[in-house]
Symmetry: C2
Subunit: 191 residues, 2 copies
């Protein structure tokens, strides 16, 4: 899901944020980060039966991951934001996996999202999924923001994979780019 959404309403410029306070990441960098994550996951011996992508931020990382770890992808859709783009106190499910969730019993699940920001979404999803008796759930995120976390990882979570540790800055993902040429140029300049 897009944790940047609320902030997008107040654009980075509007809150006085300079370009250098943002990370611009190219599709190539994202692809390479996922590939590296797949290698790290395999190296631990954690072998998921299914991938669960948190929508919509996890869709692209999960689909790239499937190239390296070929498992079925289920999706769950969650949003913190109402139609007015104002954050809500608790996540709203957009789509849940319903009968699929019951199929998670006895399975090793790899939960995928793009960024671990406040960790509230991850905690919410993990608690929901854990209640359906999977053998194990591991977490994979492209980026973990180093900041105080309002959410907690449940103690059952033994594997947590973050592609990169990031300072608590605004992350501009390529799929959010309204001008992809500008975006990729900025990403190249920051490498």
């Amino acid at each position: 899901m897009n944790k940047n959404r609320a902030a997008r309403v107040q654009s980075p410029e509007a809150v006085g944020m300079e370009r250098q306070d943002r990370y611009f990441l190219s599709y190539r960098q994202i692809h390479e980060t996922v590939q590296q994550l797949a290698r790290r996951i395999e190296a631990t011996g954690f072998d998921p039966d299914v991938i669960v992508a948190i929508g919509t931020g996890g869709f692209i990382p999960a689909r790239i991951l499937k190239t390296f770890i070929n498992r079925p992808i289920y999706t769950v859709g969650i949003s913190y934001y109402g139609l007015d783009n104002v954050p809500k106190a608790t996540p709203q499910t957009i789509q849940w996996i319903d009968e699929v969730e019951r199929k998670l019993a006895g399975k090793r699940v790899l939960l995928v999202d793009e960024v671990d920001d406040s960790r509230v979404t991850l905690e919410y999803c993990l608690k929901e999924l854990l209640s359906h008796g999977p053998t194990e759930i591991a977490v994979m995120v492209l980026h973990n923001k180093n900041k105080e976390k309002r959410g907690k990882l449940p103690p059952e979570i033994r594997h947590y994979f973050a592609g990169r540790e990031m300072e608590d800055r605004w992350i501009c993902y390529p799929w959010d780019a309204e001008d992809i040429l500008f975006h990729e140029d900025r990403a190249r300049a920051m490498e």
Copy 2:
């Protein structure tokens, strides 16, 4: 979904297919194709309430589309291939949208996939979704392969958007790349 899967088992090299018989597409090209599609969709006046992505091929196009047409994304997972990667006679649902499907009643739906190959997947999904009483369903695919189609678009479908018309060649999508640098180089060389 990955209609190339069965062919991947028999690699293009194995069946004597030369590199020039394949299309290599970069992430940037995909992003730009989605952006152009969004403009064309808006120009027709078709204003979807929800996006439904066919997994897993539709995940990335749908997520990029959301940047330009910001609607909730639901996903349906379908596969023609069993665990043995042998095509099945009929699609197997991986994940269906269940109670969400019932929410499609009275809604304008934009169904998204990466490629219209045999059209069988599209026909299957469209018939299923149409049975739940949406106001309208439109189709968006990145690429339409010009070939004889085994599936048919139901007569209810008034809008069909294909980003590019392609000859019936193997399409190499960037998210399937095991070596993204090589892939993007090839895509650049083909521009």
